[in-house]
């Protein structure tokens, strides 16, 4: 009797799940590199917007910090077990994810990469900022603002991630190629930690009292440079350029403490990635790279209709 009940309950559950699955909309899990930084929250906003526009269901998740490669692989495994219709993925470590991506590919699940590419041809498309080019743009602005000569320094988030490396190299290569009168005196890494970046920037400013310009390659790094300049009363003496946005950086630009910054389009990244996934499910052709663009903004353009939607507080 009990066996029969269990059997019946199981059958009912099976039928219900089949029915709901049949009736269910398209399911696309989005796995990001994290969720703590405002950047990832903005990506999420874009992804959710696209999900609404295209009538698909998404889930958005990511590990607590951008170093937890193994945790992200676990998350990837879990969503693949749910047999999604497509997968949107920003790899923390592009090589580590390849076996699972191959497995998904074999199962016929279309994969779209975002933020940083995967070293594999499995993803049908990658929606990302060209960080190398964006940092090059920042270098051009820096050169212009300091009068094409002088000493500059950099604080970068780290020396291992794709974005960290691209932004550092994009900036340094452009300076070395085009502006021979500008000397890069120091490059240090603050892990995006506001406090550490502040102390780092301060030490660099102490070591080079005649510094003309300073580039902070992400939000935490840029805020560190701003803090250091404020604490040392160097506001106005050093041209500060940032990357990304966030409340403190926006304030510094409005008050003139920071000359300007390059911003990505995080909402656009999320939107275009989910959009690409929907198109892939429909069998449409996709470009290999979806360049989501970047913008230089300063005091004058910060509230413009083009820039404003890209910034997050």
């Amino acid at each position: 009797m009990r066996k029969l009940t269990v059997f019946l309950v199981l059958m009912v559950l099976l039928v219900i799940s089949c029915l709901t699955m049949a009736a269910d909309e398209i399911y696309i899990p989005v796995i990001s590199k994290g969720f703590q930084h405002q950047f990832w929250q903005a990506v999420r906003t874009g992804a959710e917007q696209a999900a609404e526009d295209y009538g698909v269901r998404i889930t958005y998740e990511g590990p607590a910090s951008e170093t937890e490669v193994a945790k992200q692989i676990d998350m990837l495994q879990t969503v693949l077990d749910k047999a999604p219709d497509a997968l949107v993925f920003a790899a923390l470590d592009s090589k580590a994810a390849i076996p699972l991506l191959e497995q998904a590919d074999d199962a016929g699940i279309p994969i779209i990469a975002f933020d940083s590419g995967v070293d594999s041809d499995i993803p049908l498309a990658t929606a990302a900022t060209d960080n190398y080019a964006a940092a090059g743009k920042a270098a051009d602005r820096m050169a212009e603002l300091i009068g094409y000569q002088g000493k500059i320094a950099l604080i970068v988030q780290d020396q291992t991630s794709h974005t960290g490396v691209q932004r550092r190299d994009g900036f340094i290569d452009r300076i070395e190629e085009k502006y021979s009168e500008i000397e890069i005196v120091d490059v240090q890494y603050g892990g995006g930690d506001h406090l550490k970046s502040t102390d780092l920037a301060k030490a660099i400013m102490q070591a080079h009292p005649d510094l003309d310009g300073f580039f902070g390659a992400n939000e935490g790094s840029a805020v560190g440079v701003i803090n250091a300049a404020t604490e040392l009363n160097k506001a106005g003496d050093i041209i500060i350029i940032g990357f990304d946005s966030g409340n403190l950086q926006l304030n510094a630009i409005r008050s003139g403490l920071m000359a300007g910054a390059v911003t990505q389009n995080p909402v656009g990244i999320g939107y275009r990635a989910v959009e690409a996934a929907v198109k892939a499910i429909r069998g449409e052709e996709l470009p290999e790279v979806i360049d989501t663009g970047f913008y230089w903004y300063d005091k004058n353009s910060i509230d413009s209709s083009v820039v404003k939607p890209l910034l997050y507080e």
Binding site: A203, Q206, G246, L248
Partner: protein
């Protein structure tokens, strides 16, 4: 009474090596300072020295609190994220609730103390090893910080007076430095001159003897972890004030810096001995070293290697000296 005797003896036994340790640590601090001053003319400037003091303040306060816990033979891995918990709660009180700044600060301190009390209860009452209990607390606080703040930083921009707590200056030196040194001085008095301090050593020297002699070990342990949490809360307030924001994702990693400062300062991880002055010197050694290497533009990868090696060396020299007696 028995315990008084035991701890008294323990202290007398080690007093020589402790003062030697302090002397050695202090001497290395001076030597480092001289070397960096000679190597770079930008090191021994007023503003750089003030910079070193300011950057020592946060980890120094953390390390001061954790010294008590390490003297009892325990450990607190949660001080970094509890510090952030203190800063996030200060942000909630001041920015979300619009409370007066002093109440926000008290709230931040209370939040830190509360987290410490929970860790202390887990250790004392539930007998969970400190390493595990505080590891759990570290993760709980990390998660709570994100939940409470809605994963967003909390800014104090609307309340400019808040920034003065850490960055307002007296005689050209930011207040955070005075607060740090003041807190360390009070902690030192507590440890040296009060029953609280005496029992802290007693728990670390021989917990069983302390229990047998009638000390309410559990209650004192809870009090000591609460004090540690209170100092984490204070560090959190200083950090929030300096950064003008509570950054909920920050914090993990700072516990190891604090513990390193305590250990360099001669406090033994096996408990029973250690001083606040040693910890302060340890914290300064860490930040003078970091600052000096940065001023010399040593590549950062190598900075990390050098600092790690110094931590090992400091502890090893301590062990060697103790072995010699």
């Amino acid at each position: 009474m028995n315990t008084e005797l035991i701890t008294g003896n323990q202290k007398n036994l080690f007093i020589k090596s402790e003062s030697k340790q302090k002397l050695l640590a202090f001497a290395s601090l001076i030597v480092m300072f001289i070397i960096f001053s000679l190597a770079s003319s930008n090191f021994a400037t007023f503003s750089n020295v003030v910079g070193i003091l300011v950057s020592t303040a946060v980890t120094g306060v953390l390390a001061t609190g954790v010294t008590f816990i390490i003297i009892t033979g325990g450990i607190d891995l949660s001080v970094g994220t509890v510090m952030t918990f203190g800063s996030v709660m200060t942000g909630v009180f001041i920015t979300f609730w619009g409370l007066p700044i002093y109440m926000g600060i008290l709230g931040g301190l209370a939040a830190g103390a509360l987290a410490g009390l929970v860790s202390g209860t887990l250790v004392a009452k539930l007998k969970i090893p400190p390493f595990i209990a505080t590891l759990g607390m570290m993760m709980v606080a990390e998660g709570l910080n994100l939940v409470i703040s809605g994963t967003k930083p909390i800014y104090f921009i609307q309340r400019p007076a808040f920034r003065k707590i850490a960055m307002g200056t007296v005689l050209g030196i930011p207040l955070s430095v005075y607060i740090f040194l003041g807190a360390a001085f009070i902690a030192s008095l507590i440890l040296d001159r009060t029953v609280f301090g005496r029992y802290t050593y007693a728990l670390g020297s021989n917990e069983e003897a302390a229990r047998l002699s009638g000390i309410n070990v559990d209650r004192w342990k809870m009090a000591i972890y609460t004090l540690g949490g209170f100092f984490s809360g204070l560090a959190g307030v200083l950090m929030a004030s300096r950064l003008n924001s509570a950054q909920p994702a920050l914090g993990s990693g700072y516990e190891l810096e604090a513990i390193a400062a305590v250990v360099i300062g001669g406090t033994s991880l096996s408990g029973g001995q250690g001083t606040i002055l040693g910890t302060i010197i340890g914290a300064f050694i860490m930040s003078v070293l970091t600052n000096g290497l940065r001023i010399l533009s040593i590549p950062q990868e190598w900075q990390t290697v050098i600092i790690g090696a110094i931590v090992i060396l400091a502890v090893y020299s301590d062990i060697l000296r103790r072995r010699k007696g």
